[in-house]
């Protein structure tokens, strides 16, 4: 199986995040990391590759984004992926999910992958729609939000823990697969892995290289637009009581009654 993992380089969620003057997410001043939820996608790709005997089995880590986004690919290579693809082009700046899915679909097509693997959401935009959009654009089955993945010969089977039911879904590659954080426990890169990653190839591609017109992506081409953003006012500090004297429950009940919750 050839697996392409789509990953995103995002502002670290535990640090301060903000916007640019054009209302896009600030990706320059922010501390960037491989989106935490994409680590599960890389791990699952490695597991599928290692459980597959065919000699052409490989994992390609793919991202789109500014120069710094290369770090997200590098992390994937350190974990054990074989090679990287970085679509980097100034015209991509400000792309929405529609533009993002176009770029990733065009780049994935060139790879002729059996499985295009994604995380369940990015930790910045957190829309969770790009995998479905990729399947739509590529015209292949979508098996998404997998809590468990089994590859059985030519069948990919997943468990999807939905809102109302748990479903088992099957499809045959080529397909798009997305995995949740319930799926596995991502490995930490070993020292050997970190050293080996330095020698692994990362191919850099422009929009022209993948056959996407500059006018079809980026901020001006986006089909949705952020008009304004505002920092949420800090919550006014509340009342904190200590339960040392055992009156904590009484005061909690009084508070809830005053607020008409009881």
């Amino acid at each position: 199986m050839k697996i392409v993992v789509c990953v995103k380089h995002v502002p670290d969620a535990t640090a301060a995040r903000t916007f640019n003057a054009d209302n896009t997410v600030d990706r320059v001043r922010a501390v960037g990391v491989l989106s935490e939820l994409d680590e599960y996608a890389v791990e699952e790709a490695l597991k599928i590759r290692d459980g597959d005997d065919s000699p052409d089995s490989s994992v390609v880590v793919m991202t789109m984004g500014p120069a710094d986004a290369r770090a997200a690919i590098l992390k994937g290579l350190q974990m054990g992926a074989d090679s990287g693809v970085h679509i980097v082009d100034d015209a991509i700046h400000g792309a929405d999910s529609v533009g993002t899915s176009l770029v990733l679909a065009k780049a994935a097509e060139r790879q002729a992958a059996d499985i295009v693997l994604c995380g369940m959401a990015s930790t910045d935009g957190s829309m969770s729609v790009v995998p479905a959009m990729l399947a739509e654009r590529l015209g292949v089955p979508q098996v998404t939000f997998a809590s468990e993945v089994t590859v059985d010969g030519d069948t990919v089977r997943i468990r999807r823990d939905g809102d109302a039911a748990t479903e088992v879904i099957e499809a045959t590659p080529p397909l798009v697969l997305s995995v949740t954080d319930q799926c596995n426990e991502p490995r930490y890169p070993s020292f050997k892995g970190i050293m080996a990653a330095k020698k692994k190839p990362i191919e850099e591609l422009s929009l022209a290289d993948i056959g996407v017109a500059e006018t079809d992506v980026g901020l001006d081409a986006a089909w949705s637009r952020v008009e304004a953003y505002a920092e949420r006012p800090p919550r006014s500090s509340g009342t904190i009581v200590r339960d040392e004297d055992g009156t904590g429950a009484d005061r909690l009940v009084e508070f809830l009654a005053a607020q008409k919750f009881i």
Partner: protein, 318 residues
Amino acid sequence: MSEVLVLVDHVDGAVRKTTSELLTIARRLGEPSAVFIGSEIDAARDSLKRYGAERIYVLDSTDLKDFLVAPKAEALAQLVQRQQPAAVLIASNAEGKEIAGRLAIKTSSGLITDAVDVQPRDGRLTTIQSVFAGAYTVTATVTKGTPIVTVKPNAVTPELADGAAEEQAVDVEISHTAKTARIVERSPREPTGRPELNEAAIVVSGGRGTGGDFASVEAFADALGGAVGASRAAVDAGWYPHAYQIGQTGKTVSPQLYVAAGISGAIQHRAGMQTSKTIVAINKDAESPIFELVDFGVVGDLHSVLTSAAEQALARKA
């Protein structure tokens, strides 16, 4: 008035509260039409009418049932092409967002997910979203095609309005390509007797601090008529099922009252509850970051506080 399509979110015909909320929003924007996919319209009709559906399109086919999202998106796209609505509103859950994503590509339309409010402004649909774990609010609009918006639960209070509910069966053709991800097994979730997490007005959640014992969390939730949630730490420890996880990789809730018991309040958890109206926390550690968010906090043992508070709450009700 222009037509606004609302995709009905239902379980075997039982219409979820989010659909009443979407119909209420749709009435601000135009004339609401419900799109019902499934064979149980008889169970759903009254609820849709009561919240103002002027029309109900009924799409009933096994092709729409036995496969993952793609056929539903295809059917909806055919209806959008035919009706040319002013907007399409869909509930912001995993399936809803995926249908919306595919619909956006199929109809060359802009997509906004996870709106917490939708308003008409200068003749255009404008959305409010809460982003970066609730640290910012963002105003956005769709600039191309038919605005497709997924809306989070509890965005509005559903308002009753008698709709004409004029019913129309719609035949759709589903392509072979859309039927390639087969659902081979389906086990519905066991009912808990408590309100659904997404819809509940009150949510009581337990975390690492419970030590694995959720009895007092459940007792307090039941005393207030609330739903029970869990932090990722509690779920990862195997103390509570993943379906009840609140946070970035679980559910996002926005209830009137959120009670965090034994939860420290990491950014990933905040992402799932920060927009709650009133926040209460009980935690042994006075330095827990959760106390920065609360309207009322108790530093103490969550089991004794919640057990006693549950008894008092029940006594007051009696």
